[in-house]
Subunit: 161 residues, 2 copies
C-alpha cells in the first residue's frame, strides 16, 4: 500500500507527507489549533462527513497527534486535544500559511491573521536557520546523507551535488 511505503521511506518529508498527504488531515489539525475540540465542532466547521471525520480523528489519535479526552459520561463523549507532537506540527502549518499567504492568497489580503495572545502583536511566521536566524534560501543549502540514509540513496544524493 502506498501510504505504508512512504511512511517507511528514509525521508522526513516523505514521512510527514504520508501523515498529511490526505487533504483532510492537516485541515483537521488546523481546526484543532484554532480551538475546535468536539466532534461536532470539527464537522460543522469543516463540512466533511461523519464517516471521513471519524477516520481522520482516529488516524490522528493513532499517530499521537491528538489525545482523546472524555468530557462527559453516559454516553461518554470525547474532546480531541493536540499532544506535544501535535502542537509542534503547527510549525509545519505555519510554514504553509507563510508560503500560501505570499503566493496563493487573494489580492485583498490573507484569510487568517495570527496574533500573539500575550501581546496582541501580529505574528508572521518565518523559516530560518536556528543558529543564525537567517531565512532559509535553498540556493545556499546542500543536502548531505545523514545517519539513517541507505547507501544507494546516499549515492543518488551525491550524484546530484
Amino acid at each position: 500500500m502506498r501510504r505504508t511505503r512512504f511512511s517507511e521511506w528514509p525521508c522526513s518529508i516523505a514521512r510527514t507527507v504520508d501523515l498529511t498527504g490526505d487533504w483532510w488531515t492537516p485541515l483537521v489539525m488546523r481546526q484543532a489549533f484554532y480551538g475546535a475540540r468536539r466532534f461536532e465542532q470539527f464537522q460543522h466547521q469543516l463540512g466533511l462527513s461523519r464517516n471521513v471525520l471519524t477516520q481522520r480523528l482516529d488516524a490522528l489519535v493513532e499517530a499521537d497527534m491528538l489525545d482523546r479526552v472524555p468530557y462527559q459520561d453516559r454516553p461518554t463523549r470525547y474532546e480531541y486535544v493536540p499532544t506535544e507532537k501535535g502542537r509542534d506540527f503547527f510549525t509545519v502549518l505555519a510554514a504553509m500559511i507563510r508560503w500560501g499567504d505570499r503566493w496563493l492568497a487573494d489580492p485583498e489580503g490573507p484569510p487568517i491573521e495570527l496574533h500573539d495572545r500575550r501581546t496582541g502583536d501580529r505574528v508572521q511566521p518565518a523559516v530560518v536557520d536556528a543558529a543564525t536566524g537567517e531565512p532559509l534560501d535553498i540556493r545556499n543549502i546542500r543536502a548531505t546523507p545523514g545517519p539513517s540514509l541507505p547507501d544507494h540513496l546516499a549515492a543518488h544524493l551525491r550524484a546530484l551535488d
Copy 2:
C-alpha cells in the same frame, strides 16, 4: 472536484495542501531542491512511472513552481528548474524536515542533513516569529479573521476563541 474546491478555500493551508496533497508533488520538489533537473534524474531517483512523473512535472510547471528550460535541440529536451515561488516552497519542506526529524526519524538519526554551502555549517530549520525570532508555540497564538475570510467562516473562528 475535490482539488478545485480546496484551491478555492479561503485558507493558505488548504491552498498549499491542494498543491501538495498529492504524495508525489512535494517529493518531486524535494528532488529538485537536492539538485535533480532532468526527467531521467527525477524518475530514477524517485522510482515513479514516466506517466505519473510527467503529470506531476506538468502540474508544477503550470503552478509556476518549476520552469521548463530547453537544454538540447533535435530532439528538444528540457530541464526543470525551481522558480522563485518554487524555491520559496523549500521553507515548507524545511518545516517538514524539522518536524519529521524530531518525531518520525529512526533512532540512529535523520536521513538527511542540511549544510550551508558557504560555511559548511549544519543548518537546522526553525519556524519562528519574524519579529521576535522566537520559535512559534500555538499555545501563545490566536488566529483572527483576515481581509479575505468570508463572514460565515469568520463567525466559526470567533466561536472557537
